[in-house]
Point group: C3
Chain length 129, copies 3
Amino acid sequence: MPFTRIILREGYSDAQLKQISDTLHHCLVEEFAVPVDDRFQVFETLPARQRVFDKRYKSGGRSDDFIQFHIFAGKPRTKAQKQNLFRLLSARLHSHLNIQPDDVMVMLQFNTADEWSFSHGRMLSEEAL
Amino acid sequence: MPFTRIILREGYSDAQLKQISDTLHHCLVEEFAVPVDDRFQVFETLPARQRVFDKRYKSGGRSDDFIQFHIFAGKPRTKAQKQNLFRLLSARLHSHLNIQPDDVMVMLQFNTADEWSFSHGRMLSEEAL
Amino acid sequence: MPFTRIILREGYSDAQLKQISDTLHHCLVEEFAVPVDDRFQVFETLPARQRVFDKRYKSGGRSDDFIQFHIFAGKPRTKAQKQNLFRLLSARLHSHLNIQPDDVMVMLQFNTADEWSFSHGRMLSEEAL
């Protein structure tokens, strides 16, 4: 049920976007217990003039590879789950794509299963799960 | 007071965007009791490489016409209101624009009237309503 | 900790975007007690056909300069703080950039410090502040 906005620089290849998509999704499956076929993402690629970020705030140093994940999810997760997601995503982006941990920012936002409809006007909380 | 992000493929005509805008807005007026002149929307048209979605998760089958509505609204609605909005929007998109119900995803997010200012720095909850 | 989406027309110069960025940021520092180096923003510049807004709803009259600030922040603020932010932002955009108060819309959305990671997979609520 998560929907994620991934905000990053221009210039990534289709293969790299696919790798970023896969990396995020696998982390959500592992740490947030998201079903494996529940994948919804948007890549927002922006020129430098449209992205403003501090180079140093709570980071050892951000580069042009700075990437933000704004994740909207429909049921609450524990503090431990959130912490594990943050850690795993940062580690995997580093090992799989050589994106530096200093360049990875994540924001979560939760609502409820009443607030999602995946198709046909069906409310998620009323669907057979 | 709702603000809606409408995320869809490229290639729609101005007339079609207007029809989608109207369809959503009329549903919000009818089911969420939104004032008729309270319309705020953004169309986010994206190439296929920037939209990632599962073809089958809780849908009979999504096509390239897949469309997402991310609705931010400022006061709570009942479960019945949410359900009615989902159903009506799906039905109307089908009848008015031939967008398949399998292709319609909706997400809602609520905050409060203290968290909106429409102009002049006036807080919505302090305005004469 | 705020992350702000700034939605506006195309055609602003880099210098003007910088001025808008500075104006918002200084308001957040002054009214929301945001650290001075905690700046994260995205400019979403859109052609007219992708922005739908009522010209008159709770405004004396919106022009093509209509600008929306969608601010995501990680800890609660009082009603007075929100009201002060709305007022200051509207006033400063007017005096610094000649953007009319009728053209300024602001939306706030709050989550918690558990829901932010600025880098290295560290949860904000676990960081030394």
